[in-house]
Amino acid sequence: MTDSTISSRSPETSSPKPEYLLGNVAATEGALAAGCRFFAGYPITPSSEIMHLMAVRLRELEDGVFIQMEDEIASISALIGAAWAGKKSMTATSGPGLSLMMEGLGYAAMTETPCVLVDIQRAGPSTGQATHVGSGDVLQVRHGSHGDYMPVAFSPWSVQEMFDLTIKAFNWAERLRVPAFLLADEAVGHLRESAVLKKDVETWDRPRPQGPIEEVTPFGTAEPDGVPPMPHFGEGANLLVTGSTHDPRGFRKVDDPDIQDTLVNRLTAKVLSKRDEIVETESYFLDDAKVAVVAYGFTARSALAAVKACRKEGKAVGLLRLKTLWPFADKEVAKLSAHVRSIVFPEMNLGQLAGVARQHAQCDVVSLPQTNGRVISPGRIRGTIAKVWD
């Protein structure tokens, strides 16, 4: 990467004209546009450009803080602390780092701490192939920490979406007080292409205490799916933040079955009650499709090229692209499956999300897995479509 690839720029002075930039740089700029003012991380291929640029950019901002931590457990812990001090906070990592963050992920979910984790996925498991692409973390972000929780996860397919969906990840993290993911892959993180970095973006902030600070209940609402107001340290609230089961005021209640039940159900219900607003998909050529491809991330780019090539051959094939992975687009997949003969589901893992799609689909779901550290080519998707078609 040349120096100018991570050269300084400011969202305030950015041009609305298309720019040419690296996916990881666009994610960084998206975070700053969303109001991120705290970054803690440990560099890891293929996410490191985000950390490099954050080190430059946050220093330029009066209220920006950047810390290089000793490891990824410390990184996510620092995010949580910064969020409770009032900052919008983010880290960037890849598979091995994400694995270390699982303990903190559960803590963030349980303490209802808004934070954003950018995961630039590489070929795993373990250290795997550091410089090569994969999508093997899809189920890990959903289930990797113990107990029940529901994250929000976006899957960008372009440099433009590295910017746009990072902003959405921040907005949903804040609105729902949850850890949110930009679940990108190396091929998009390291793609360089034209994108428009908008000057003014819509940003949402966490719900804040409205009445007397001593009466605030930061961990409970009257509604079973509500998001409680979040005070910050230093504002006067007697603030207890704990990963152990706690009542609405934050007091530990590790023997009370009702409090445990209410809390754990609300952690998921507060996300699922907004499911229709969160979940985003895009449809291409689906109106008369007999076979549909369902894809996400970089693979959806290959899928779109494959679908267009099939259309030229006269095959009625379409694409449902998943922009969000969690919550899963269950209704959209179910609806699609009622109108097509088969769904082809290419992904850079051994069928992680295809398995989830099968739980909701009425038709056959044909998994097209690939784990060789390379992107799935349009030709390979066409080949599978042809087999399904005959």
Binding site: T5, Y20, R192, E193, R301, L304, A305, K308, P378
Partner: protein, 190 residues
């Protein structure tokens, strides 16, 4: 040969050499210039340990329409800065299968049965002669490509170079680029 018409669909260029020859820098400069011209551009690079001292590769797509699949599977143009680049990539190309090669480094070409159109470029020889260092041979090659294809405007290319090339090397590289443009023009005039 009119490479410009490819822009309406996609002009796919692969630049390859040995790590350090500036293949990736060229790709960034070209793709950024395309973006400045308001056309879609996508660039992907070989990323990993083999790029450090070993083979280096950078693919650029310039297109007036949306770029669905942003990687290059079959380039229209190959810029070969090393013999290894020629041997590895001068195959599986799309029309017009144009190979621009630096004849200082690439000595052995595929036979006529390959269907490739070869253009020898005296990039390293010329910049050694005129500038005194072979380092800017990559920009001479880019000058030839832009001269032949008119795929980006000169103004955008120069603005892009000013962004990506270190200030102390900018004049030298601009000079090399213009030498390449002139060479392409002279060749087309003949």
């Amino acid at each position: 040969m009119d490479l410009t018409t490819l822009l309406s669909t996609a002009l796919k260029t692969r630049i390859s050499g040995i790590g350090g020859q500036g293949a990736i820098l060229l790709g960034d400069v070209l793709a950024h210039a395309g973006a400045l011209d308001g056309i879609n551009s996508a660039c992907s690079t070989l990323y990993g340990s083999q790029a450090r001292g070993g083979a280096s590769k950078c693919d650029v797509i310039l297109a007036k329409q949306n770029i669905d699949f942003p990687h290059v599977e079959r380039p229209n143009v190959l810029i070969a800065l090393s013999q290894e680049a020629h041997d590895g990539f001068a195959k599986d190309m799309d029309e017009p299968r144009l190979v621009l090669y630096d004849d200082y480094f690439v000595k052995n070409l595929a036979g006529p049965e390959s269907g490739l159109t070869y253009r020898a470029v005296d990039a390293t020889t010329r910049v050694l002669d005129v500038i005194g260092s072979g380092q800017s041979a990559n920009f001479y090659m880019l000058g030839v490509l832009v001269g032949l294809s008119q795929c980006v405007t000169l103004a955008s290319l120069e603005e892009s170079m000013a962004k990506y090339v270190r200030k102390r090397h900018l004049d030298t590289n601009l000079k090399a680029f213009h030498l390449g443009m002139e060479a392409a023009r002279d060749e087309q005039g003949n």
